[in-house]
Amino acid sequence: MTLSGALEVASCTDPGMVRSHNEDSIASDGDQGLVVLADGMGGYNAGEVASGMATTVIITELQQLLEKRVPYEIDAHSGKLVAHQLLHEQIAKANTSIYQASQSQPQYAGMGTTLVVALFYDNKMTVAHIGDSRLYRLRGGELRQVTKDHSLLQEQIDSGVITPQQARQSQNKNLVTRALGIDPIVEAEIHDYETQPEDIYLLCSDGLCDMVSDDDIGLALQTLSSNLKLCAQHLVQTANDNGGRDNISVILVRVLRDYPAPRSIVGKMMSWFK
């Protein structure tokens, strides 16, 4: 199945102004409707290793599986949507690979990574995420954060200890409560969303949203929507202009047209007679 021409994808990743190396990792395949972003953590180069393993495992495995499997169908064995099943399995696989590497090689001990994956199919998108890398949506000029961070700050906001405004002042940034590769088993948060033509989706690491306000992100997506590559570069540049204290990664996906799933012949015949 291919979505060729339905999505426009642009991305940009940068070490920022302070860090010597980039522990973020991004991968995308517009034709398969697949985008992956990971923000690694751990000493020396372990963060890069963890995020690189996560994006590589997930993109290459899913690319192969999507040749055979149909994401909008129901899996006969599990009763789950195939898209969910595939994401669930491949995230578990990436988790195991990172966890085993960190257990067997001392220089990788304790490495882990955040993850946000979006899979587009049948005018829909399934989003899986772990940690504090985010997915935003711009629709009708309004920017909305779609994913909810797995972080100490988000838990504090939820329990009413601090307000979202206070959270921006907090010293407890960058404490995630869930990460890939830290424990033998990890649960990703998976949800489905309807998409519309002209929607713009932004996947980003915390290096962007900690440095650039949601208002400025929204303004950039709106004004530069006709040149997605420039928009991605502009977002990274703005984060750097504001200090660039962490690695910054951005993937932008613009929905160009509807991409309904090709249903069976019988289904098509039925719809003609309606």
Partner: protein, 254 residues
């Protein structure tokens, strides 16, 4: 680690490190910070500390708690806040903000184990719980990165300021077309010019100054008679821009 500096009439009396999850302040001797003054209630206030953040809460004291001149019930303490209790002053100092190298280290993303987080949040939500949160930080080997961060740049490690803006203001004056003579202030971080679908350029306002970049269309903007390429171009005072058949002058405002 954050601390409080207790003083009266400008005289420093003592320093108290906020090592405990709950630090109580009051007149009675069982308080962690005892202030033996009649203006201070028996149990006056409490400071709840969660990792690097501290929250001050008034415990229904008779004379109230004042932070930076404002009476508060609950307050998220920021570095160098002044807490006033009667004639006494407590200055809140958060060294994670003051010590740059340490702060850079802390900015590394770390994982909190679910168990410890529950304790931390629950303890804050229900201050009665006496459990001490333990942050089980994964990947604590940050030495190389910390050194790199120290030597790379002296980048400020204070909380991010909202979008840094250049000192100067600038505007465009249209020189031709139907709106000739009109002025357009460049106050936003991004200002688009031109006709969508035909030719669009954007002027970005950055700390280093103003830049023009081509966004869409077959033809590129012209500045002072020279056609630009896809790269951003720095704008100087009195540059003349030609875009979608309209001429305009860029100028800095004082």
């Amino acid at each position: 680690m954050a601390k409080l500096i207790l003083s009266m009439d400008g005289l420093v009396l003592k320093e108290i490190a906020l090592t405990k999850e709950r630090t109580t302040i009051g007149r009675k001797p069982h308080n962690d910070i005892q202030i033996d003054n009649l203006a201070v209630s028996g149990e006056h206030a409490v400071i709840v500390t969660i990792l690097q953040d501290s929250f001050l809460e008034d415990l229904g004291s008779t004379n109230g708690t004042v932070v930076n001149g404002q009476p508060i019930k609950k307050h998220f303490l920021q570095n160098s806040d002044i807490i006033e209790l009667g004639k006494y002053k407590l200055k809140y100092v958060n060294e994670a903000v003051a010590g740059q190298a340490k702060a850079a280290d802390f900015e590394k993303t770390m994982v909190l184990r679910p168990g410890s987080v529950k304790t931390a949040t629950a303890a804050a939500a229900a201050p009665a719980a006496a459990a001490v949160p333990v942050a089980a930080a994964a990947g604590a080997k940050h030495f190389s990165d910390t050194v790199a961060a120290q030597s790379a740049t002296g980048a400020p490690v204070a909380p991010p300021k909202p979008a840094a803006a250049p000192q100067k203001n600038a505007a465009l004056q249209l020189l031709s077309g139907a709106n000739a003579g009109k002025e357009l202030d460049l106050t936003k971080p991004l200002t688009t010019l031109g006709k969508p679908g035909v030719q669009v350029a954007v002027i970005t306002r950055r700390p280093q100054g103003f830049f023009i970049t081509h966004v869409e269309g077959a033809s590129f903007p012209v500045v002072n008679g020279k056609t630009l390429d896809a790269q951003a171009h720095s704008l100087n005072d009195h540059d003349v821009i030609e875009l979608a058949g309209v001429k305009m002058e860029f100028f800095l405002k004082t």
